[in-house]
């Protein structure tokens, strides 16, 4: 998988982690008009914040949860019209950083991890090809 796609899938997986922990607040933060922010620090502590509140991913973010080894990340989301979310940011993979921009449909993303596919992906603790392909379809456009 190329780094452009990988970075976008990484962002989707972190949002999904936050959503699995606190559905209502994660949805409100990202769906609310204006800017929201996702940061991951060098200890793997991940926070999604916006005017609606803050979600701290208490279990942390590591390779067993998102399938990628990342050092830090800083992503900004901008919601202009409800379900379509713009994003831009940088992920530090250790040896190199990758910056990406794009848009995704919030509803498509949060429903991508509601069924058997997502359960199978979680059970694998890392990579699940079909789930990655689903996230690629949502995030890469």
């Amino acid at each position: 998988m190329d780094r452009y796609t990988e970075a976008k899938i990484t962002i989707a997986k972190v949002i999904e982690l936050a959503y699995s922990q606190n559905k209502g607040l994660t949805y409100s933060i990202i769906a609310q008009k204006g800017n929201a922010k996702l940061t991951i620090d060098q200890n793997g502590k991940a926070i999604i914040s916006g005017t609606a509140g803050v979600v701290v991913i208490s279990e942390g973010v590591d390779a067993t949860k998102i399938g990628a080894k990342i050092k830090r990340a800083n992503i900004t989301f901008s919601n202009e019209d409800g379900m379509n979310i713009g994003y831009s940011g940088t992920i530090d993979y250790g040896v190199a950083k990758v910056s990406v921009i794009g848009t995704f449909n919030l509803e498509a993303l949060i429903t991508s991890c509601s069924g058997l596919l997502c359960k199978a992906a979680r059970a694998l603790k890392g990579r699940h090809r079909a789930y990655d392909e689903e996230l690629k379809r949502i995030m890469v456009n």
């Binding site: 780094r3 940088t90 040896v95 190199a96 950083k97």
Partner: protein, 146 residues
């Protein structure tokens, strides 16, 4: 005889000055040299000659995704232009081009001097609206993480 000595000394002085000028780093040449040499089979032996220990220790070279960053054609399949600058003893090279899927991309490298060699200390692959870049930027100047 004395004229010959004076001429020889002058010639040596000119040559030493010329030599000093050519030691100024050309980061794009260093980048090209590494890019041409590197392949999946020789990375482990090649990396210490082109990258700082600090960069190599930040990652996991057994991870295929992280390893792929060291094969530059994975970041930049086609080049269109490049710029370089030296700021406070740090060299920054910015190469514009397209990735393997033909998306516009900027590859930004930071070089630092170590034991009289210039080594890559940071790499940044940038997909953004601000491209192609029209001047050299350093990897930390885009998308700050702090």
């Amino acid at each position: 005889m004395s004229k010959f000595l004076v001429l020889t000394s002058a010639l040596l002085l000119i040559l030493s000055c010329t030599s000093a000028q050519t030691t100024e780093p050309q980061f794009y040449d260093l980048y090209k040299e590494y890019r041409t040499k590197a392949n999946a089979g020789n990375l482990d032996t090649l990396l210490p000659a082109y990258f700082t220990k600090a960069l190599l220790s930040k990652g996991d070279l057994t991870d295929q995704f992280q390893r792929s960053f060291f094969l530059f054609e994975n970041s930049l399949a086609q080049e269109t232009s490049h710029f370089e600058v030296v700021k406070s003893g740090v060299g920054c090279l910015t190469v514009n081009g397209y990735d393997t899927a033909n998306r516009p991309v900027v590859f930004s490298l930071e070089y630092v001097s170590s034991n009289e060699a210039w080594l890559i200390n940071e790499m940044h692959v940038i997909y953004s609206e601000d491209q192609p870049m029209t001047k050299a930027i350093c990897p930390d100047e885009y998308g700050a993480l702090d």
